[in-house]
Symmetry: C2
Subunit: 299 residues, 2 copies
């Protein structure tokens, strides 16, 4: 019987743990974790994401701050705001909602965030710490960190003897995911658009992670029977069966057929998706504990 990995449930238990940790820290040290989110411009999807993050931060008991800047904000003014938040002792996490309007140098903005407040895990210092296996002092990119928690619900923390295949080699997901799997002792193969016989390589995977942004690319015959399948894709596709002009969300895995072969699989939506925001909150409470000189909770 295939196990459906319920990301909503796992995320809810992470949030409960964060809330308790936040309360403990405040009681012990008088420190309330603070998360500042900066959004520039009017993109409705970005505003929806930022709104969700703010609500979740409040639910976790955090000090939640949102800075909404007009589209025409200059790079200089944005950097100035980041510098202020870097210096603000009540703020432990700083997040700049991406994508920024085109006239910004996004990379320079991201790199201007103090590594210890970089709760998105995008700073080069955090990338370097993850790449060298230092999970104790860095902050890990949220979606791979959340995906690892889902893997752990099936396989535990030690993946010795298991083959993991990651499809997709982005800096945001594929590379850090591969590094986390390797750090957990998996034998890790990084596959991508230049890979020959992608299906055959995927079939060697005990843990198959797809992050390519192609609707239902991974078919049933790419999946080793009994494998754990983590689907990171979120693709909106037409759904004429729901009515004219209607759409639906699907992953990078052909869920209906692949779930007949897999041992465990994440659905889309409701799999990896809910984990990302939960791990953002986890990074914020970790950053607050570290700043207070306390040992942070482990997730």
């Amino acid at each position: 019987m295939t196990q459906i990995i319920n990301g909503k449930d796992v995320a809810a238990s992470v949030i409960a743990k964060i809330k308790a940790a936040s309360d403990t820290l405040e009681a012990k040290s008088g420190v309330k974790p603070g998360l500042a989110v900066i959004i520039v411009g009017d993109d409705p999807a970005s505003h929806a994401y930022v709104g969700a993050k703010g609500r979740m931060a409040k639910e976790c008991g955090f000090n939640s701050v949102q800075h909404t800047l007009p589209e025409e904000t200059t790079q200089e003014d944005l950097l100035k705001l980041v510098a202020e938040l870097n210096a603000d002792a009540s703020i432990h996490g700083v997040l700049v909602q991406l994508p920024l309007p085109r006239h910004f140098d996004s990379e320079a903005v991201i790199q201007s965030i103090l590594p210890e407040k970089d709760v998105d895990g995008l700073h080069v210092v955090n990338a370097g710490k993850l790449a060298t296996g230092d999970l104790e002092t860095g902050l890990i990119s949220c979606t791979p960190a959340g995906s690892m928690l889902l893997v752990r619900t099936i396989h535990g923390a030690d993946l010795s003897g298991l083959n993991a295949v990651v499809i997709g080699r982005s800096n945001l997901f594929g590379k850090p995911m591969g590094q986390l799997l390797l750090n957990a002792n998996a034998t890790v193969t990084m596959a991508h658009s230049r890979t020959k016989d992608l299906a055959g390589i995927c079939r060697t995977a005990d843990i198959l992670v797809a992050a390519v942004g192609r609707p239902e690319m991974v078919k049933a015959d790419w999946v080793k029977p009994g494998a754990t399948v983590i689907d990171v894709g979120i693709n909106r596709v037409p759904a004429p069966e729901k009515g004219e002009g209607k759409t639906k969300l699907v992953g990078d895995v052909a869920y209906a057929e692949a779930s007949a072969v897999a041992g465990a699989i994440t659905p889309v939506p409701g799999g990896v998706g809910p984990m990302t925001i939960a791990m953002l909150m986890a990074n914020t409470v970790i950053a607050a504990y570290r700043k207070a000189g306390e040992t942070p909770p482990a997730f």
Copy 2:
């Protein structure tokens, strides 16, 4: 016919290119690349390595500086010297010979070197740049960089469609090597001591890289016929055939039998070994070009 990859020849051509680039920079900008090497204590092997680096730097036309500190040097004094070299405009590369005597916090010393002078490529910022595919502004760890040059002599710069397997996941070699291969479009598998069916996984490799420190562990039947084999191991073993108490150097690959199967293979010694010091010089001239605001040569 198996091709023997001659690391000495490749290293010599790299050194010739560095020498020319160093001359050009001095003629154009009046800048002579400067390499400072710090050695602490009396370890004879370390002194031999440092001596070789100094001679090579002079051969490249560099300003070569050696700081020899007594065993009882304090962490504080060593950090002070690094800070002085960081601030010294005539020095473009700073290298602290490892291992340091036990009372040092080596990691703190390494991280105190300015990333742009970290010609060993060990700083977390350089690790992060490599991990995120930024090869333009960072400095790459010398042995993996040199190993990639050897791979390139066989396969060119684009490894699309090729499977690479790296055995060993150290921060010094295995991880950066995997990142370089991935960046060159190979499909990369990171294998290690916790890998199940290591021989079988190695047999999938078009490019097999061994860096485990176990004499002649990789046998002929681990090698796919025609594969390129890069042997990073340098192990000293008894050689009774040369006389009582005699020793010899062997790699991690059983060279005699594996070379009958491989398409191309590096010998030990004379394969990867000579590349490490060459790439150290390459990093130094690259750092000097960048500091002078000039486009550095590509290796």
